[in-house]
Symmetry: C2
Subunit: 190 residues, 2 copies
């Protein structure tokens, strides 16, 4: 598709799998920079964080014939970001808040392209997927919390696991919820 070296600035095994599924050859370099941001809206925050990750890696490599991809995914409800739960009670509160309703998953993507002369082109966007969760009783929420590793998941659920039975529908890219909007990236790299 193109001949520049691709560097994925992410430690996520799911992002790695999606890039491989799409047929890309790439290296992985993980930014250790502290994730601070100034934005206030979820879609702006993920844009900023993805750019921060990609830019940090760009400073560490020779900026010629290389493409650096940063990504950051959040779950948002009512304009607020839901992080990983601090406790099972916290997970219960999160799931209870958005059961029976629509929430958003945003993945910010930063693509830094350096040509053979070192000229840089930047693509920095947030891709949104709406997720509609069916109504859940308290018992169903508790059953789900016991059945999956919710403490490790932003928003206290994973779309790929047992929570699937509670998702009525999505509007957007499924893989964006998994962590990387792979069709967006493919179009941006063409």
């Amino acid at each position: 598709m193109q001949n520049r070296k691709i560097i994925l600035a992410s430690a996520s095994p799911r992002r790695r799998e999606l890039m491989a599924l799409a047929g890309y050859e790439f290296e992985i370099k993980v930014s250790n920079k502290e994730e601070t941001y100034r934005s206030t809206e979820p879609n702006e925050i993920v844009k900023e964080l993805s750019l921060l990750k990609a830019s940090d890696i760009a400073e560490q490599v020779e900026q010629k014939d290389v493409i650096i991809i940063g990504a950051d995914t959040v779950v948002a409800y009512d304009g607020k970001i839901l992080g990983k739960p601090q406790s099972k009670e916290d997970a219960f509160r999160m799931l209870k808040s958005f059961q029976g309703k629509k929430h958003q998953v945003y993945t910010g993507v930063a693509i830094l392209k350096f040509d053979s002369n070192g000229n840089e082109t930047v693509i920095n966007e947030a891709v949104k997927t709406d997720v509609y969760v069916n109504s859940m009783s308290d018992e169903e929420i508790l059953n789900y919390i016991e059945s999956d590793n919710v403490m490790d998941k932003a928003g206290a659920y994973g779309i790929q696991g047992k929570f699937a039975i509670h998702i009525e529908k999505i509007e957007g890219d499924y893989y964006n919820v998994v962590g990387l909007p792979i069709s967006f990236i493919y179009e941006a790299l063409k």
Copy 2:
């Protein structure tokens, strides 16, 4: 969730995986009945075929304390069903027809519930997911055909594989496209 025996009337390994993911214990019995139908619309055809499969299995078992689930999935564009391609040229024509456009995936579901007295309740619905495919050049279509096992796939693509890079978004249940609308089934079995 309930204590009746569940029989999945489908040979599909993906349906089996989804039922297991959802936490159900079930047996598999596959109908060998010829798949004939009278309906003309894709959503009606899958309803009819899922019911035919489930009813065929129902005739082979004791109709007490048992739930039989039949399913049939089709890809439809412009009101017509796209089956498995007959040749690579046929796959090219299919993909060319719906690139840059929206098409539908319908899964018909038939759930036959028999209580301890042998009384039957029937749920028979078609679940729709809209799939939006990005514009694709002829070269991209040919590349995809060479990269995946398209001859084995209705509509000449699989949403779980390399075609993901060409899907802009979906509206509906992702797992419905994979072959089983698992949240619909969960709600129907509650």
